[in-house]
Structure formats: C-alpha cells, structure tokens
C-alpha cells in the first residue's frame, strides 16, 4: 500500500503529471498578466501546453562536437530535480509526502540543480552564445543564491527547525510577511532571479545572446527544460507562500496565495529593464545580502530578547 501511495505521489498527485500541468498553467497566468500589463491581449490558456506538446514532437538536433550523453541527459536531470523537490514542499495545500529534518536545504539545492544543469548544458555546446549564456547563468546563480537562501531561512530561524513541514506548521496562521518584511521582499525578488524573469533575465537575453544556454536545444531537450522551469515556478511560489503568507493549508488557500504572488511578479516584470550581469551581481551582493543580513540581525536580537 505504501509503495502504491508512493508511486501515486511521485507520478500523479501531488507530484508528477499534476505538478507539470499546474506548472504550465501558472506559466500561462504569468504570460497573460504580463501581456495585460503591457496593454496586449496575451495568449489563450492552452498556449504553454501547445508549446510543450509541439516541442516534444519535434526532432532533436544534436550539434557537432558536443558530448552526446550530456546533451541528452541534462534536461532529464533538471526536470527530475525539480520534480523531486515537490516531494518535500506542500504543493496544492496537501502535506508533503516525505519530510525529514533539514529538507529545506535539500529543496533549495534541488531547485539550484535546474540552473546548474542549464549552465552545464550551455558550456557543453560549441556555440558562442551558449558559452556566454552559461557563464551568465552560473554567475547569476552565485549572486542571488545567498540572499535567497537567507531569506528562506528567516522563517526557519523563528520556527526553530530546518524541516519544511515544521516551518509550515509554525507559519500557518501567522503572517510572517508582517514581521519580516525585508525577508519577504528579498524572497520575491530572489524568486525572480531564480526563475530568470526580467530584470534578471540576462542569462537568456534575447537581444544579446539569442537564447543563452538553450540556443542549441530543440525538440525534446528544450521541451523538458521548459517543463522544468514551469515546475520550478510552482515550487518557488509554494515555498514563499507557505513561509511568508501564512501557510497553504488547503488547496483554495494555495491557489489564492500563489496567484497573488504571481500578480505581484507580473507587475514587477513589466516595470523593469534588463540589468547587465555585472549590475545584477553588484545589486545582489551590495543591497540584497546586506538587507537580509540586517533582517537576520533583528531576528536574532528579538529571539534572544
């Protein structure tokens, strides 16, 4: 019985197919809101699904001179990492299927695995654009990771645990957004950095390096990367909503809170110009890290008191 529930949890709900579908649906919400903010109509609800279906059906062209095994397996690892992270996070408002002490760090590492895979995929290729895109992706990873992690650890500090389900139980009913506003802002902006949304989309700057690391990918590999990015969106949103917005106890709260964050993300995306990679790094290490450390200092003082 346990094996059966495990398999269902992994493949169907709340991980696997349901997560992928919801990931693509949230991607559509983001696209539609961004379009409306720009006074456009935006795509219809099935656009990301149609894109993925088309990509999975197309031929995968493997360029000359790349390591074939890496080329083919990196998208799969990226998607696998993102899907595995869902096991420990309360997606859809249901309790996580597995949890153990310290799984916050594991989840954040698994999310970074996706960016790492994109960076490796870029450097694997021979194309100039891929190499530069990979350098930028990894540089950006080093820049927002520390403030984002510290912002996520803020609620962990007050809850006194590194286990997501325990932090979730602690923050349910408490709006940690009010007592840790700086942490919340850093978490939201860090999420934009992780998901490579403007203004932090320098690794896939369309007008400078075509598509960054994913330039040479087509067909199935590109489709898997895109699905992975959709899943990462949902997991990131769930984490932020669970920690800062008073927990996601039931599916309705999950939908409402994550959609609220998506609205904020869309408005922030519409407002900003793309930053250069050195400006991104400077911004994060100068303001992001310092602000979140200041927040931590406040928390520690209050806890000691």
């Amino acid at each position: 019985m346990e094996t059966l529930t495990a398999i269902v949890a992994l493949l169907l709900f709340p991980g696997g197919i349901a997560l992928i579908a919801v990931g693509l649906l949230y991607k559509w919400v983001n696209l539609k809101l961004l379009a409306r903010a720009q006074n456009r109509q935006g795509p219809r609800w099935f656009q990301p699904f149609a894109d993925i279906a088309k990509l999975l059906a197309k031929e995968e062209i493997i360029p000359d001179g790349v390591n074939r095994r890496f080329f083919v397996i990196l998208p799969t690892i990226a998607l696998a990492g993102a899907l595995t992270a869902a096991l420990y996070v309360p997606v859809f408002g249901v309790n996580p299927s597995y949890s153990f002490s310290g799984d916050l760090i594991v989840v954040i590492y698994l999310l970074s695995l996706l960016t790492l895979c994109i960076g490796l995929a870029g450097s694997n290729n021979n194309s100039r654009f891929s190499v530069i895109g990979s350098t930028r992706a990894l540089t950006q990873l080093f820049s927002y990771e520390v403030p984002f992690l510290l912002a996520m650890l803020g609620p962990a500090l007050v809850a006194g645990s590194w286990q997501i389900s325990e932090i979730h139980d602690y923050s349910a009913g408490r709006l940690l957004l009010l007592s840790q506003p700086v942490g919340f802002i850093i978490a939201i902006i860090g999420l934009m950095g992780k998901l490579e949304m403007p203004p932090f989309d320098s690794p896939e700057a369309e007008t400078e390096i075509v598509a960054g690391s994913l330039t040479e990918y087509s067909g199935r590999g590109l489709g898997l990367f895109r699905i992975g990015q959709g899943v990462e969106l949902v997991i990131g949103l769930t984490l932020v909503a669970a920690f800062y917005l008073g927990g996601v106890g039931n599916p309705i709260a999950f939908v409402l809170k994550t959609l609220g964050i998506v609205v904020g993300l869309a408005v922030l995306q519409a407002l900003a110009t793309r930053l250069r990679i050195d400006q991104t790094v400077g911004l994060w290490w100068r303001y992001g890290a310092l602000l979140v450390l200041a927040q931590w200092a406040v928390l520690i003082v209050f806890r000691a008191v």
């Binding site: 379009a35 409306r36 456009r40 109509q41 935006g42 408005v267």
Partner: protein, 140 residues
C-alpha cells in the same frame, strides 16, 4: 531618479481593454484615401497610355481593341503593382481609382492577380485571341 516610473501606466493597462485589434473578427473602417486595388473605367479611356508609361512597376498594359471607337482593354498585374497611385494622377480623364475597399488581396494562386478591365465583349474577345494564340503555338 525614480524606480518604476511606468507604474501608473502598467496598473491602468491591467484594467483597460487591450489595444489589440481582433482582426478578422472586427474590421475597422478604412479611410477613403486608402490606396487599394486599382479599378479602371474603360468608358472614359482615350488610350494615351500615360498610366502605363509612368507606372514604376510595369503593372499596367493598355491593349487597343479599336482605336477610333476608343475601345481599350487594360491588363492590370495586381502582383506587380506597388500601390503608389501615380496612375490615378497621370490619367487626365479620371478613369483610374485606387479603391479604398479592396485591400484584402491575399490569394492562393497567381490567377486572381491578373485583372482585365474593359467592356465585356472586348475582354472576352481578347481572352479568346490569347487562347487561340497559345493553342496555335502548341500545335507548332
């Protein structure tokens, strides 16, 4: 230095109707001066051929059926035409009009782009002559 200077515009756009025009579901009115496809009135034509001389794309051919009775046929290549409107000005008799209502000109074959204007009888005879010529060419 402000952050998010475009904030008000963005928030207002979220609640406004999008600026996208739902063509072909909605079609807006075209202004009357729009230079659409050429329309030729053969009755007024005197055969000066100024339109065909001044066309930059060689899109107009005036074929004389009967010079004394002033019967001419125009063969208009709509795919060569650049819709500049010079013919409309060159013609002193006012035979040519760039019709503002004929602007959806996409087609799936070449055939709709060769347009013949003139009296019915003349056009039919001209087409018959053409077919006769090509048939006799084939026999050779």
């Amino acid at each position: 230095m402000k952050i998010g200077t475009i904030f008000e515009d963005v928030i207002r756009s979220l609640f406004r109707k999008p600026a996208t025009r739902n063509y072909p579901a909605e079609r807006t009115e075209t202004p009357e001066r729009l230079r659409g496809q050429l329309v030729f009135d053969a009755e007024k034509c005197v055969g000066c051929c100024l339109c065909s001389k001044e066309c930059p794309a060689n899109a107009i051919e005036i074929i004389t059926v009967d010079k004394a009775a002033k019967r001419f046929v125009m063969r208009y290549h709509a795919d060569r035409c650049v819709y500049c409107g010079q013919c409309e000005i060159s013609c002193r008799q006012g035979c040519i009009d760039m019709d503002a209502n004929q602007w959806e000109l996409a087609a799936q074959s070449r055939q709709p782009f060769e347009v013949y204007y003139g009296e019915e009888v003349d056009v039919e005879q001209f087409m018959a002559n053409l077919a006769g010529d090509s048939a006799s060419d084939d026999k050779k």
